[in-house]
Each structure stands twice: as C-alpha cells, then as structure tokens.
C-alpha cells in the first residue's frame, strides 16, 4: 500500500491504515490440537508474510495503546505514512503511550526483552480477537496489560458459550533463549498459579462497572470461579518463539490447575523465525509513527 502525505491526522488515514493491516491469522498457518486435558493452537508465520505481520502487529499495538483515541492513533498513522513530524509537545504525549518503557524511542530504546514480551502479548491479543484458537469470538478481551513491564497476567478473554459466560486468563511469554519452550510454558503456568488472583481481582473490579448486569455479575464471580476451578473458568499460556521444537511444549500442562475439561487449559505457540528480530521490526514500525 502506498499512501501520500495527507498532512494533519484524520479518520480517513485511520481507516486506511487499519484496513491495510491484514488479519494476523490470515498471514499465519494455524493448527489447533484438542486433547482431553488441554487445547492448544500451533501458529507459524511463513517468511513471506513476515513484514506484513510486523505491520499488522504494530498497527494493533498502536491502536490498543491509544485505546482507539482518534487524536492519537490518527496522528501516529499519518506520521507513519510519511506525514509531518509531530510538534515537540505532542510527540512527548504520544511517546507516553507508544514509546513507553517497553518500546522506548529511537534515541532511548527499551531493552530488547521488553519489546519481545510486549510484542508477544499483542500477538496473543490479536489472535484471540481473531479467534485463531477456534474457541469462539470473545465478547470482550481485557488487557494487555496492567503495566507494560509488569510480569504476567496479560489478558482476559470472555466468551459466551451455550448461553453462559466463561473466561480464560492468559499469560503471554516471549521465548528467545536456548532453553526448551516447555520450560517457558511451565514457568508461565507457575506464574499464572501465583498471580492469577491478583489479575482477576482487578479485572473483576473493573468489570463490575459494566453496563450489562449479566457481565457485571459474571465479573464479580470470577475470583470465586477460579478458586473453585469452576467450569466457566480457565487459563491459557501463549508463547511466541523462534524455536521450531514445540510439539511437546505443553507436555506438563495437565499438572497445573485443577480444571477438569480440556478447554479450560488453553495454549498458543506462535513460531516466528528469528523472533527477536521480528519484535524489533514491529518496534521499527511503531517508531515510524513517532
């Protein structure tokens, strides 16, 4: 897509930029596995789609971090498409969201591990919204993130299945080291075990202010549902990795949590060759708009 300098930000640019971003699920190869103890999806990014995927993820991050606020996203999009530089004071504002502690700026980039984790969280978010796990279109996805550098508890997806509301609490990780992906999954599971209530307590409180009485009530019950491993509760672990060895990465998954049904333990492994470089490419896309 080639776009001319359109000057001041406007919704037309927003629309254009967002529509230019293809669904991530359409750029990847998705394979869903359903075992009795857990369900997981294996997602691979073909090399040919790498740039498009980085662009899609960057647009998603920009949109999410600005919460869709037109003045911000539009300005980012216009600048990214070659528009005028931001005024210095506005740049400071927009950097607060898009050049935050996980991204940084060209002059002061954030540590690599921050951007890698940050991108991993948004990949999960995007694929969940796009129903890559074929679990259903969530009616609401909260997160990421309580804080950009906060560890764990990255997102909460709420679905309606069979007339009832259910939730899955996700933890997203980036894997760039030499250790097996399984270790990352296990670490994430332990993290969910210890941190789940911290996140659920806070998600729960926010959700109790929803305008829909059913949603309010459901959010209010979440911590209790987790405590009792109720049918409507569930957890998930997502890993973005460069490793091709992912077949048994959820091998120990059933030993975590007391859930009785396979769909209460969900997994997502996104394999991207040279994932660290991919994360930096996403960051580069973000910086283009600053």
């Amino acid at each position: 897509v080639t776009i001319d300098d359109v000057g001041s930000p406007g919704h037309d640019v927003t629309t254009l930029v967002r529509s230019a971003a293809q669904p991530l699920s359409s750029l990847t190869v998705v394979e869903v596995h359903a075992a009795a103890t857990h369900h997981w999806a294996e997602v691979r990014l073909p090399a040919a789609n790498r740039a498009a995927a980085a662009y899609t993820v960057a647009v998603h991050i920009a949109w999410e971090r600005c919460s869709g606020a037109p003045h911000y996203f539009d300005a980012w999009a216009a600048r990214r498409e070659g528009g005028r530089p931001h005024e210095a004071d506005f740049l400071e504002c927009i950097e607060g969201f898009l050049g935050s502690e996980c991204v940084g700026t060209r002059d002061a980039p954030a540590p690599d591990e921050h951007i890698e984790g940050f991108v991993a969280e948004h990949i999960w978010h995007l694929l969940t919204l796009e129903n890559a796990l074929a679990f259903g279109i969530p009616i609401r996805v909260d997160g990421p993130d309580w804080s950009a550098t906060d560890s764990g508890g990255d997102g909460l997806a709420v679905y309606r299945t069979g007339g009832a509301l259910i939730f899955r609490l996700w933890e997203s990780k980036a894997h760039t080291g030499d250790n097996p992906v399984r270790d990352v999954v296990n670490g994430a599971c332990r993290q969910v075990t210890s941190r789940a209530l911290r996140y659920l307590a806070r998600f729960s409180k926010v959700g109790q202010t929803d305008t829909d009485p059913e949603v309010r009530h459901f959010y209010g019950r979440m911590p209790e549902m987790w405590k009792h491993a109720a049918r409507g509760a569930g957890g998930g672990v997502s890993v973005s990795t460069a490793s091709g060895e992912v077949t048994d990465c959820f091998g120990y998954y059933p030993s975590y949590w007391d859930f009785a049904h396979g769909d209460q333990r969900q997994g997502l492994v996104v394999t991207i060759v040279d994932y660290a470089e991919f994360a930096q490419a996403v960051r580069e896309e973000l910086w283009k708009g600053l």
């Binding site: 869709g68 606020a69 003045h71 504002c93 607060g96 993130d145 209530l197 926010v206 009530h217 911590p223």
Partner: protein, 1147 residues
C-alpha cells in the same frame, strides 16, 4: 494480632473449599509471617499473597451485586488487608507493585472497618508525583491513595498541579475534554477525587453525586480502555464514594445542630473528613449524642479509637448551638495542655477558643468557648463560684472518668461530679463521661440518671491497629554452664550460666509461638554457699539489662515506651538501652536543652545522646514536656517512664515494653501497674493512622506459663470504678468517726483528715453551694450522698451510716454563722484545717502594717511564712514531699534540716532547680535522689498544696482591704509558677511552661519593653527569639501561642472567604504581586517565609505564625499576594468554586 487471626473470622472470610489454604493453615502461616517480620526476615509467599487478592476481591465486590454476605465481605477485607500489609512490610518486587498493593490494601482496610490503617499504609509510600503524560495509571494510583487516606492537603496540591498539566494537554492534543484521549480515565479519577473531598469538606451532596458520575466514566472511558490501573482505581473509588458519603462528618449531624459544628471537624486540625466505625455507630444511634437533648452520656472507647475527636465534635456542636460554653476536665496538667491546644486549633476555624482554667485559686477566665481544667480545679471553682460555673458552662466533659475510683484523687472528682449532676439535674446542662477503661458502665450510667432515666451509655471495643501480645523472660542454658574455681579473694565456687532471651507471642487464643535469641543476652552467676547454689545478684546481669536488649529489637520497628516501677529503675533501664545504641544526631537539640537545664553530668543527658529518654516525676515539668514532645514527633525513639506517664499523657507508640510492675518496700510488695493502668499502657501500643500494628510485651523474671497471657486481659471487675466511700479504708474511718460522734457532736469539727473528714467537707461544700445557687431549700444531707457514685454501690446499711454522717455535718453547717460556714466550705480542706487557716489569716492581718511593699511576692511570702506559719501551713496535708531524706534507704522518720522558707524564696527568684538543689540539699549526696526529691517537692507542694492554701489565706487576709492595702493578691500564682515579677507571671499564666524562659524574658523586657510584654514579644519572631532567649522548640511553640493575635481571627476569616491582610517582616526586596508561603528548613518551629521568584522577601510575624501555619496544615489551597503597602493578602482559592477541572468547561 489475635483479633486478626481469629479462626472463626478466617473461616468466614475464606468461605468453603477451593484452592487456598484452610483457615487453620492460614492462621498458622500468618502468625509465622508476623513473627518473621518482627525478626526482620519476613517474606510473604505467593500462595498467601494470592489468598489476599482473592479475599480482597470477595471483600470489595460491589455490594449491589449481592455476591457475598456483608459480614463475610468485611472479614475478607480485614484478612486481605492484613496479608497485603505484611507483604508490603516485607518488601515488594517493584515500586509499582507496592503502589498497587497499597491501594488494594487501603481499600480493604477501609471496607474492613479499619480505617486508620489505610492512612498508616499510605504514609509508608515513597514520594511520588507522576504526570499524566508519562503514565496516567500512576497518577490515578497516587491520587487515589491520597483520597483513601483523606489527605486533603495533598489531594488539593496534586489536583492543582494536574489541572495545569491537563490544561496544557488539552491544548496540545486539541480537545475540549480529556475524556476524548487516553488520559480520560485518569482525568476522571483526579476530578472525582477533588469532588469527593470537596463534598466531605463542605457538605456539597451535588459534588458527591458528580464524583460518583466521574468515577463511573473513569471506569469505562471511551478511549482509555488500556489504562487498566486508572479504571481499577475509578471502579473502587466509585464504591468508596458511597461509603465515605455515609461515613462523612455531615451524614449524621442532627438538624438541631448548626452546620458550623461539622465545619469545625472538617476544617479544623487535624481535618476529620470521615468518621471511624465506633464514632459512626455512636452518631447513628438514637438519640444522637450531638443533640442537645442528650444530657448525660457515658462513652467508653479504647485508646486510639477516636474518643478525643468525638469529644471535640460534641463540644463543637455544643458551643455553636449557642447553649453556653464547655468545660473539659482532664486528670493532669500536661494532658490538659494538650487537650486545650488541640481544641483551640479546632475551634479557631469558628473564631472560638479554648483556654486553660489557670492556676488554682484564680477565678475562671472570661468565658472562652471551652475551658480545660483538672478535677481539683473543677472542685475549687464549684466551691468558690458555683453560680458562675453553672451560668457560663453548660457542657461538662470528664475525660478519663474512671479516675473517680482512684485511691488518691477519686473522691475529689466524685464529689465535684456528684454535685454538678445534682445541681443541674433540673437544668439543660449536659455531662459527658469518657473513659478507655471503665468496667462498670451500668453503675456509672445509673449514677448519672436524670429523672430516673440512666445516662446514654455507649461502649465499643474497636481499635484500628492490630496488637501483638508477647511475654519476655530469660532462659538459662544450663548445658553450657562454666564452673569457676575459687581463686584469690574469691573463696567460693562460682557458676556462670548463659541466659538467652525468650519471647512468647500469642498468635490466637490459647496458642503462642516461642522465640529465642540466637545468642545470650546476659549471664547468671551462682555461688556455692552452704551446700546450695545461690544467685549472686551483683555479678549476675540484672533483669533490666536483658529487657533493654528486647527493647532495641522492638525499636527497629518504631518508637518504644518502656514502663518501670520506680524512677531509679527507669533510669537504669534507660542507661542499659542507651548502652546498646550509637549516638543519635536527631536528639542533639534535646541533649543541649537537658545539659543546660540539668547540667551536663545529669544521667538524662547521657542517654538522650543515644535517642533514649527517661521520664518521671522527678524531672522538671518543662523537661518532661520536651521528652513527651520528642517521642510524639519521633525524634526520640525510646522513652523509659514510670507509670505516672501512662495516664498522664496521650501519646501512643509502636511498642510498649512493661518491665517491673511493682517494687519491694521492705517486706511489702507495692504494685505500680494495676489492671487499669496496664490496659492503658497496652492502649498506647500501635498509633492509629501511623502504623497498623503495635506490640505489647510483658516481662517476667520467672518460668513461663501459658496462663501468664491472662495478665493481658482485665475483667470488668478489675476495671470497675468504685467510690472511695465504699473502700475498706473509708469504712474503717467511718466506724472510727461514728465512735467519736457518739461521744460528742464536736467530732464534726475535730476530724482532721481521712475519708470521714473529706465527706464532711463535701457536705459543707454541697450545702454552701446549694445556698449560693438559691437552692437552700434542698436537703444538703440527701443531695451530698444520693448523687454520689457511692449511692449506687453501697449496701443499704452502709448508706444509712453515711446518711447519718451527712445529717450531722449538715446540721452543724446550719448551726454555724453564715459568713463563717461559707468561708470554711469554700476552702476545700477539712473543717479543722479551715479553722487553722482562719487563725493564720488573723495573725498575718495583724502584722500587715509592718510590710512596706505589699505587692512584692517575695516580701509577702516571707511575711506569711514567718513565725512558724509556713510549717503550720504545710501541716495541713502533712505532705511527705516536704520532708527530705539524705539517702534513699534512710528511715522514713529521719529528715534533713532545711530552711524551706529560703528555698521557696530561691524558687520565686527564678533559681534553676539544679542551683536550688546544690544550695539547699547538699546533704543529699546522690545527685539523682536529690533532684528526685526536689522535683517531687516542687510538683506536690510548690505547684499544688501551697498555692491552694495560700490562695484561701491571702483572700481572707485581704477581706475588706482596698487594692493598695492588700497583700500581694496573686501570691499563690507566683508560688505556683516560681516567678517574682508581673511580666514573668503574665507569661507563665498565659502558657509559657519554661520557668527559665519567663525569667529570661522578664529580665530582658525590664530594660527593653515599652508596651505590654506580649506586644513587645510579638515584634520579634521565631528566629530572634531563638537567638535572644536561646529558646528550645517547645519554648518557642509556647511563645507563639502566647503572642498569637487572636483578635485578628485570621483562620476563621480566611476560611470564611475573606481576604485577610497580615503584616510582613520584610527581608530582601519584596514587590507587590503574587508570593508563595514556605516553611524554612529551620527549627522547629520553622519560620514561615514569603517567597517571590525563589527569594525570601519576608517572614510572617509571630502573632500570625500559628494561624498561617494552621491554614497551611488544613490543606485548603491559599492564594497569597503582597499588597502595595507590603501586607500579605491571604485568601482561599476556593475549591468549591471550580467547575469541571479536566472537562471542556474548565477554567
């Protein structure tokens, strides 16, 4: 701690089943965590923390969803907050996590009805001033935490700064309302916080409603969904706004009370924006005790439960209702001073005041809104001016009312209170009894019945901070005993045994954890004598030295109050604590002061260097005040005190360590800490709003038994206030008196002292006061007995016996000439003592023509003291303090020869206590004992007994004389304060406690002063006083209070919206225009400077210092400008006038 770890409560909080630990397991692990933290090696594991978050979610679930029973939510919040609190103490992974967890814990403490702990946690947060542009979520957490701590000053300050930032952001982004941006949620949180505080301060229900709406918008903003922290904060504050709306001072103000009463609370210092649970329960009740129709009230709250503030609220409500002034009765001078100062600051916002009643014998001050006095002064004023007391004062608040059962002073209070109750039973007057330790409330409420209806009685057990109870002892390590063979002059075998410290901490009823020190804390030495091993007391480490080690462990967590049985013990323990510590530079000012006042060799000076003080009656008043101030402000970490401090002053500490609870006097064990005093001491542990937990440790010098924990629990009986007329001593005195009376009716006039004499004096006082009130038709013999507490407690037979005494006393009163009986009844002494005073007055009157300068206090005193009259005056009460012994173990009957008259003249002349001691008590070689005796003499004789009797004596001497012929009418006050010039007396009476200072000022003023001393002083300021008078912080604070320009009513006028002009002491080059007020980093008290462009251009003069400082503390934003004629123009930047702060219409 036991309260927090109650198993039933934990069960209720956790609910059934699920993944978390059982209630029993949770109880155990929490206890372990508490102890680990105490030992400073604590950490909270993830599972415990996860449990806390679960409980927090249960507790803070929106009530309207009806997910959990309200009681379970409260318990869940309490447990959640407790775990969070421990985790926060142990340390968090990041500052952000600390802030999030603190906010959650604050919410849970508030919703768990433990409000002060939400403030205490807030105070632990590091300084933080985030900007919206960097991280709006951090802004919400920051301002949200400030609101939960009701820190109005900070909320308004932060909102001011954020308002500027918001204005700038709107311009940069090009929006009219930040809700259109990712700052939307945070902006709504900040604005909502402002609205909430505005409502709590000013009662603006529409602003509360707006706060709710803003929080709703903040929780679900259109373009800030990613700002989860702001949304979370908004969601909680939405619910808290409802709670605070209900807990607001305004919510329970009865329609019969003007709103100004609420303003006194919300605008006074400290601001009270919301009430604590027991206060709320009290005010929600029917009838509401603020309502003037509640005429008798008995309030029993534990220490740190907000009793004082409720009393202030009742008094504020009373005085603004225009029903007369209030009189507060407190047990000690120092507490009275504190109460008066606090009330005065609160009432300043209403242009009202609170004053001290002044010394004994001086008429009441010209009707302030509130007057503060001791029971003895109340009794004196009722005796001498009952009509005025009842005309001017219509609310009587008796603090620490359980003192009515005190062996020494109880009868004075019972007598005064009984009369007050009787004389006002048909009037609109109100009586409020307050106590933290009153077991027999029913008796007391029945005593205060009006027309057969008992007083409204309210009792609450609530307290904010948790309390850990522990027992300390030492444990001998017999396995590592070292045997030492006789050598040289040591002819006996010795055994050295290492002693380890043991602390047993009660974790729940019937359960405790035992801790042992890792190394020995001392050594036990035994000698083999006569076939047995005996303890060698001199070579063994004393128990206090080992206690001192425990004290320093407690000191790692905050201030420690150690209580010992005797003055000497207190000093030894203080020295032992100090020996373990390094020098504490924070105490430098205190050290310098003590060295000047007591001499550099005084033991207090040495321990103060290490941050340790000892406090007992043998120290001068002003030094005691400095020590109290030091521990209150945190400059002093350890204070070792005798039990006198326990009830004397109102300052809580982090930990209380109780040492010896009595001492041996010969073969007799004299207890110094009874159940009530222990309860009071325990009440000091844990400062509400400053910390969430307090420790109370009792020491034992023997084997540990779990039943020893029983010492912490006082039963109702032990805390019962018993009338002195029902004591064994009183009944013996009654029997003896009955015997005398059977022999002769003259027994009435021949009983010098003891309970019978006191009761006869009481009957005369009642009879006379009734007569002065125009109630002579009432039967004094009935009134004097039937309105006492004794009447509720005595059996029928004993009642009749005392009735008989009353009957004969009243009969004798009626038979005495009116003038004589009136005079005698007003003395407050026994009738024989009154007769002695009468005789002495006649003698002095006869000698009066010999005296040239009758206004000279020294000459006047000498005249009275001459011809053995001083000894006769002192014989009235036979004070033991007037007899000095050369050494501690000298026989009681053996006292040193001393010319008391000369000593007292030196006292009047302003000689320092040290000099007086050296001059007159050189025979007492032990310096500490010398000052101990001298201080006791000063406190009991010079400041109390002598002025009391001199007052009567001088009044009688001067009867019928013209002003010029009178003997120094204020002699008793000169003696009371130890001063000899009118200037010094004026300052002392106005409230300057330091005798040194008033003498210094009087000396300088004699040469320099042209107008009144206060006028002259107010031309100076804190800095010049500090320099010219070498004044200490408390001395300066006293001077500021004395010179305050009360008439200017600066505080009340500014708060009412006026522009108030205040003079400026110019320094530098001020220009007309905006200025800023800033406290300089000097002092305390810190001078308040006016600053322009970063330069100091002048100072707020002393007369206005306290008002301006108060205005700054209250936290309403101020606008300060310098006028053309260099006056500071101060007015409030009224927060209620602001519209939408972050929205389109913002200014």
């Amino acid at each position: 701690v036991e309260r927090a770890l109650n198993l039933e409560d934990l069960r209720m909080a956790l609910g059934d089943g699920g993944m978390f630990p059982s209630a029993e397991e949770l109880q155990h692990r929490l206890a372990q965590a508490e102890i680990a933290l105490f030992l400073q090696r604590g950490a909270i594991d993830d599972e415990l923390l996860a449990t806390a978050w679960y409980l927090h979610a249960v507790g803070s679930a929106r009530v309207a969803l009806a997910l959990y029973p309200v009681d379970r939510q409260r318990r869940a919040n309490q447990v959640a907050a407790h775990i969070f609190d421990l985790a926060l103490s142990a340390g968090m992974a990041s500052e952000l996590e600390q802030r999030e967890t603190t906010f959650a814990a604050q919410v849970s403490y508030l919703r768990g009805d433990l409000d002060p702990n939400a403030i205490a946690l807030y105070r632990r947060l590091p300084h933080f001033e985030p900007r919206l542009v960097d991280n709006p979520g951090n802004v919400s957490l920051d301002v949200g935490s400030s609101v939960l701590a009701l820190d109005r000053r900070r909320v308004f300050d932060r909102v001011d700064a954020l308002l500027d930032e918001a204005r700038e952001l709107r311009r940069i982004v090009g929006v009219g309302d930040l809700i259109e941006t990712p700052y939307g949620s945070a902006a709504r949180v900040v604005e909502g916080c402002n609205e909430l505080i505005v409502h709590l301060t000013y009662r603006r229900p529409e602003r509360l409603e707006r706060a709710r709406q803003l929080f709703d918008e903040g929780a679900n903003p259109p373009f800030a969904q990613a700002d989860l922290n702001s949304r979370w904060v908004a969601a909680h504050l939405r619910d808290i706004a409802d709670d605070l709306g209900t807990a607001s001072v305004w919510a329970h103000l009865p329609p019969t009370v003007p709103p100004a009463a609420g303003m006194a609370m919300t605008m006074g210092d400290p601001p009270v924006l919301a009430l604590w649970p027991p206060q709320l329960d009290l005010l929600k009740g029917t009838p509401n005790p603020l309502d003037p129709s509640v005429r008798r009230l008995v309030l029993s709250f534990p220490t740190s439960a907000g009793k004082t503030l409720i009393a202030q609220y009742i008094m504020s409500a009373h005085v603004v209702s225009g029903r007369g002034s209030a009189c507060v009765v407190v047990p000690t001078h120092s507490l009275g001073r504190e109460v008066q100062r606090d009330l005065d600051r609160r009432l300043a916002v209403l242009a009202r005041d609170a004053r001290d009643a002044g010394p004994l014998g001086v008429p009441l001050p010209d009707t302030p809104s509130v007057v503060v006095m001791t029971p003895e002064k109340l009794a004196a004023h009722l005796r001498t001016e009952p009509e005025r007391v009842l005309r001017d004062y219509s609310l009587f608040v008796i603090d620490e009312a359980h003192l009515v059962g005190d062996t020494d002073r109880g009868w004075v209070l019972e007598s005064a209170l009984g009369f007050l109750h009787a004389a006002t039973s048909h009037l609109h007057h109100r009586i409020v009894l307050l106590s933290a330790a009153l077991g027999n409330r029913t008796h007391v409420a029945a005593w205060m019945s009006v027309n057969g209806t008992p007083a409204l009685s309210f009792h609450h057990e609530w307290r904010g901070p948790r309390r850990a109870h522990a027992l300390f002892r030492t444990d001998a390590d017999w396995d590592n005993t070292e045997i030492i063979e006789p050598r040289g002059r040591r002819t006996l075998y010795r055994k050295r045994v290492p002693l380890y410290g043991q602390i047993h901490v009660r974790t729940s009823p019937g359960q405790y954890e035992s801790l042992r020190t890792t190394g020995p804390v001392g050594t036990l030495v035994q000698v083999w004598r006569n076939g047995v091993w005996e303890k060698h007391p001199k070579e063994s480490d004393p128990a206090y030295a080992m206690r001192a080690r425990t004290a320093t462990v407690l000191g790692a967590h905050g201030s420690v109050l150690l209580i010992e049985a005797t003055k000497r013990q207190a000093q030894y323990t203080a020295a032992a604590v100090a020996a373990q510590l390094d020098d504490d530079p924070q105490c430098a000012a205190l050290v310098a002061l003590a060295a000047t006042r007591l001499g550099p060799a005084h033991p207090l000076v040495g321990v103060l260097r290490k941050g340790v003080g000892f406090h007992h009656a043998a120290l001068p008043d002003d030094i005691q005040a400095e020590l109290e101030d030091g521990i209150r402000k945190g400059t002093l970490l350890y204070l070792v005190a005798t039990t006198t401090l326990v009830e004397g002053i109102n300052f809580p500490v982090r930990s209380v360590l109780v040492g010896e609870r009595g001492y041996n006097d010969g073969d007799e064990w004299v207890p110094t800490l009874d159940a009530r005093k222990l309860l009071n001491a325990m009440g000091r542990a844990g400062r509400a709003g400053r910390e969430t937990e307090g420790w109370i440790v009792l020491s034992f010098n023997r084997k540990f038994y779990p039943t020893d924990f029983g010492d912490f629990a006082a039963d109702e009986e032990e805390l019962s206030a018993r009338s002195r007329l029902g004591t064994e001593e009183a009944l013996e005195a009654l029997a003896a008196f009955e015997e005398l009376l059977r022999q002769s009716e003259d027994a009435i006039m021949g009983t010098y002292d003891g309970p019978a004499a006191d009761f006869i004096g009481h009957v005369w006082f009642v009879a006379n006061a009734l007569s002065e009130l125009g109630l002579a038709h009432w039967d004094p013999s009935r009134v004097s007995l039937e309105f006492t507490l004794a009447w509720q407690q005595l059996d029928e037979v004993t009642r009749v016996r005392w009735q008989w005494v009353a009957h004969w006393a009243a009969r004798r009163f009626a038979a005495t000439p009116p003038d004589t009986r009136r005079r005698w009844a007003r003395t407050g002494t026994s009738l024989p003592s009154a007769m002695l005073l009468e005789w002495l007055a006649q003698q002095v009157r006869a000698e009066l023509p010999l005296l040239e300068d009758r206004q000279d206090p020294v000459a006047s005193f000498r005249l009275i003291a001459a011809r053995g009259r001083l000894a006769q005056l002192l014989s009235i009460d036979k004070p033991r303090a007037a007899l000095f012994r050369s050494r501690r173990n000298a026989p009681r009957t053996e006292s040193i020869a001393l010319d008391l008259e000369v000593l007292i003249v030196d006292w009047l002349r302003g000689r320092e206590v040290g000099t007086i001691g050296e001059t007159h008590l050189a025979a007492v070689t032990e310096e500490t004992y010398r000052y101990e005796q001298l201080s006791e003499f000063i406190t009991k004789v010079l400041e109390h007994l002598l002025p009391w009797h001199l007052n009567t004596l001088v009044e009688w001497i001067n009867e019928g004389l013209g002003p010029d012929d009178q003997l120094c009418p204020e002699l008793s006050a000169y003696i009371r304060f130890g001063v000899d010039t009118p200037v010094a007396l004026e300052l002392a009476r106005a409230g300057v406690r330091s005798r040194r200072l008033v003498h210094v000022i009087a000396g300088v003023a004699a040469h320099a002063m042209t107008a009144s001393v206060r006028q002259w002083l107010s031309e100076g300021d804190v800095r010049s006083w500090r320099r010219d008078f070498e004044a200490s912080p408390t001395e300066l604070a006293d001077l500021l209070a004395v010179t305050r320009a009360r008439g200017a009513r600066v505080t009340s006028r500014v708060l009412a919206g006026e522009v108030v002009e205040v003079p400026l002491v110019i320094e530098g080059n001020p220009a007309a225009g905006v200025a800023e007020l800033r406290e300089l980093e000097e002092g305390p008290p810190a001078p308040i400077a006016a600053v322009q462009d970063g330069e100091v251009v002048g100072f707020v003069p002393s007369g206005y210092h306290d008002d301006v400082a108060l205005l700054r503390t209250i936290g309403i934003p101020l606008v300060v400008e310098l006028s053309q004629d260099m006056l500071l123009r101060i007015h409030i930047d009224d927060p209620t006038e602001r519209g939408a702060w972050f929205g389109g219409g913002a200014s």
